[in-house]
């Protein structure tokens, strides 16, 4: 077990493209950290630098107080689970799982014991003598997990391990991976572009955009107090409503003129107002919400429409009666966040 420290880590490719701008954070022992962001945001590059599959251009990387910038991947005491499983197609499941141990001169009896143990944990016992080509996608992903578990490493790295699985299997594996990590207590870094995976699995989330860290925090912090409009719109399904508004004389007004909240003094001009769809109260209030579409989701409903001429979504419980057309809504000031319209940063 170990903590991991990134100090001003930067990645510039040969063609001059800066994939990761200098970034620093620390992962505590036993923590499950999720790197999330849209494709091309540098999250995979960051993970691959931690794994040693990609050179670190600048900065210092330590795993368990040992500087590992120039250490070979095999000697970093890490195990990695790849998106497309990356199993050795010519080896049986047993050999796939035991390969890393065999190369570390583990006695055969101990390899056999550990492989059996991991196989039992992952329900792979019946498939140990099969080749990867004879397994289903979910089983292959389990073998990849087994290969990581038997090594008993200081750090697990996951590179979008569930994105090749179908939705049902993905939900199931998500829970299994999280439970397994809890049980083993191994520090883990998990890369995904799926914000649901990030929210449900993480102890802490790092949101990346364009090679820059937008925010680091617990799922609850990220969700309820996003640092920027990017985080607000990327996390959550449906995302946070972002509405253009005007700030003057200590009051925030929507474009239609409705005053919605008192604002910090000493500022004026355009701002962006953010509110989560489930925080909006419908049925009374000063603002008007023009409902154009009602999405029935069983447990709740999503109402899509416009507020002050801008797209807006409201989440209501299944008991709430609604109909198309204008409705009064209330925006509780405590649930609202204000962002700088130009920079997207939280005010």
């Amino acid at each position: 077990m170990a903590n991991v420290t990134l100090n001003q880590i930067r990645k510039v490719y040969g063609n001059g493209f800066e994939a990761v701008k200098p970034c620093s954070f620390r992962i505590e022992d036993g923590e499950f950290l999720v790197l999330v962001g849209p494709s091309g945001c540098g999250k995979s590059t960051l993970l691959r630098m931690i794994a040693g599959l990609e050179d670190i251009t600048e900065g210092e990387l330590s795993i368990g107080d040992r500087l590992v910038n120039t250490v070979d991947p095999a000697n970093r005491d890490i195990a990695m689970v790849f998106q497309n499983y990356a199993l050795y197609p010519h080896m049986t499941v047993r050999k796939n799982i035991g390969y890393g141990l065999k190369n570390r001169k583990t006695p055969p009896a101990e390899i056999a014991r550990k492989v059996d143990e991991a196989a039992a944990m992952l329900n792979l016992g019946a498939y140990l003598d099969r080749k990867p080509s004879q397994l289903s996608g979910g089983q292959r992903q389990r073998v990849a997990m087994g290969r990581a578990i038997v090594r008993d490493p200081a750090l697990f790295l996951f590179d979008e391990p569930l994105s090749n699985l179908d939705a049902k299997l993905r939900n199931q594996m998500r829970i299994e991976i999280k439970a397994l990590q809890r049980r083993l207590g191994v520090t883990s870094i998990y890369v995904t572009h799926d914000q649901v995976e990030a929210m449900t699995m993480a102890d802490r989330i790092v949101v990346l955009n364009g090679g820059v860290i937008e925010q680091i925090g617990t799922p609850s912090e990220i969700y309820h107090s996003p640092n920027s409009t990017f985080v607000a719109s990327f996390m959550g399904a449906p995302p946070m409503n972002l509405v253009k508004a005007q700030l003057d004389e200590g009051t925030v007004r929507l474009d239609c003129g409705t005053a919605v909240m008192a604002a910090p003094a000493g500022r004026s001009g355009p701002v962006t107002l953010g509110i989560r769809p489930e925080d909006v109260r419908i049925g009374s209030g000063a603002a008007r919400f023009d409902i154009a579409l009602i999405e029935e989701l069983g447990a709740h409903r999503l109402l899509h429409g416009q507020v002050a001429g801008q797209p807006f979504t409201v989440h209501v419980a299944k008991e709430t009666q609604v109909s198309h057309g204008p409705q009064p809504i209330e925006l509780p000031p405590a649930a609202m966040a204000l962002f700088d319209t130009a920079t997207g940063a939280r005010l």
């Binding site: 070979d72 497309n84 197609p89 010519h90 890393g100 080509s133």
Partner: protein, 293 residues
């Protein structure tokens, strides 16, 4: 697979006819002629033939010249196949790790492929020329007085060198594309699982290259046995004397120069059986141990 049905039963035969006629004309008919001729003794001027049974064959096993050439052919084929595969694999592995200028390296290694076998033999003759060949000078530095076409071993050596040189590009291209078709993530997983590059190569890369290697093995044995004819003929300047020749070259010598049609036919039948046995054996033994993805 979709099954197509023809209404007219002659149409499919018509469509197959060009291919079938080529196979019959250039393979089955000559093969049958060789098989038939091998049991006869022909008049050199074509006035007739006499049935001699297995005499043409038994003559081979008692001929010291034939046995000597059979021995040379075995050594020649093994060296050419082994060396051209090994060197090409080494070059491919090295070229695969090169990122910058990869295309230039590939082209430099490839152009030899465009050289015709007799031309390769001619180039070898120039390089190993006894008076002014640069390679002869090179080996002279080590005290080896190379005498092509005068010394039995030296001639065989130059034949092997030229044949290997000619065959490396084909092997190289196949090995390189084989290497590049190994998924990147599998190699990266191996990087994390195994610190030793040497061990990684033999436990992950090489087994995944095995299908390519197996295919090349057959191609190379066939090449060294048969396609080196032009190269050998150029090196010997159509005049073998006491120099080493492969069995295929001896078929030509005995049949066309010696006018011994029966003996030459018997030799080609032996070669045919050899290739057949070799192919069956390879598929039986080797394919079982090879993983095809």
């Amino acid at each position: 697979m979709k099954r197509a049905a023809f209404d007219n039963r002659w149409l499919p035969i018509l469509l197959l006819l060009p291919q079938l006629s080529i196979i019959c004309l250039f393979f089955y008919w000559p093969a049958w002629q060789a098989l038939r001729s091998s049991f006869f003794l022909q008049d050199p001027f074509g006035f007739g033939e006499t049935f001699v049974g297995w005499a043409n064959y038994t003559r081979l096993w008692t001929s010291s010249e034939y046995l000597k050439n059979a021995g040379f052919t075995a050594i020649f084929s093994l060296s050419v196949t082994g060396l051209s595969l090994a060197i090409a694999l080494l070059l491919a592995v090295k070229a695969d790790t090169v990122l910058r200028g990869a295309k230039t390296y590939r082209t430099l290694l490839m152009w030899v492929y465009a050289v015709a076998p007799p031309m390769a033999g001619f180039i070898a003759l120039i390089l190993f020329n006894q008076r002014w060949g640069p390679m002869t000078d090179f080996f002279a530095m080590f005290g080896w007085d190379l005498q092509v076409r005068l010394d039995y071993f030296d001639t065989g050596f130059v034949m092997v060198v030229a044949s290997v040189w000619k065959q490396i590009p084909v092997n190289f291209i196949f090995f390189l594309s084989g290497l590049q078709s190994i998924p990147r993530a599998v190699r990266e997983a191996a990087l994390i699982d195994n610190a030793s590059g040497f061990s990684r190569f033999w436990t992950v890369t090489f087994p995944l290259l095995a299908p390519t290697g197996f295919f090349l093995l057959i191609i190379n044995i066939t090449y060294s046995l048969f396609d080196t004819f032009g190269l050998i003929d150029t090196i010997l300047r159509n005049n073998p004397g006491d120099n080493p020749v492969t069995l295929v070259y001896q078929v030509y010598l005995d049949g066309f120069r010696g006018q011994d049609i029966g003996g030459s036919s018997a030799q080609s039948v032996v070669l045919m059986v050899l290739v057949l046995a070799l192919t069956i054996m390879q598929f039986r033994l080797v394919e079982r141990r090879i993983h095809y993805t």
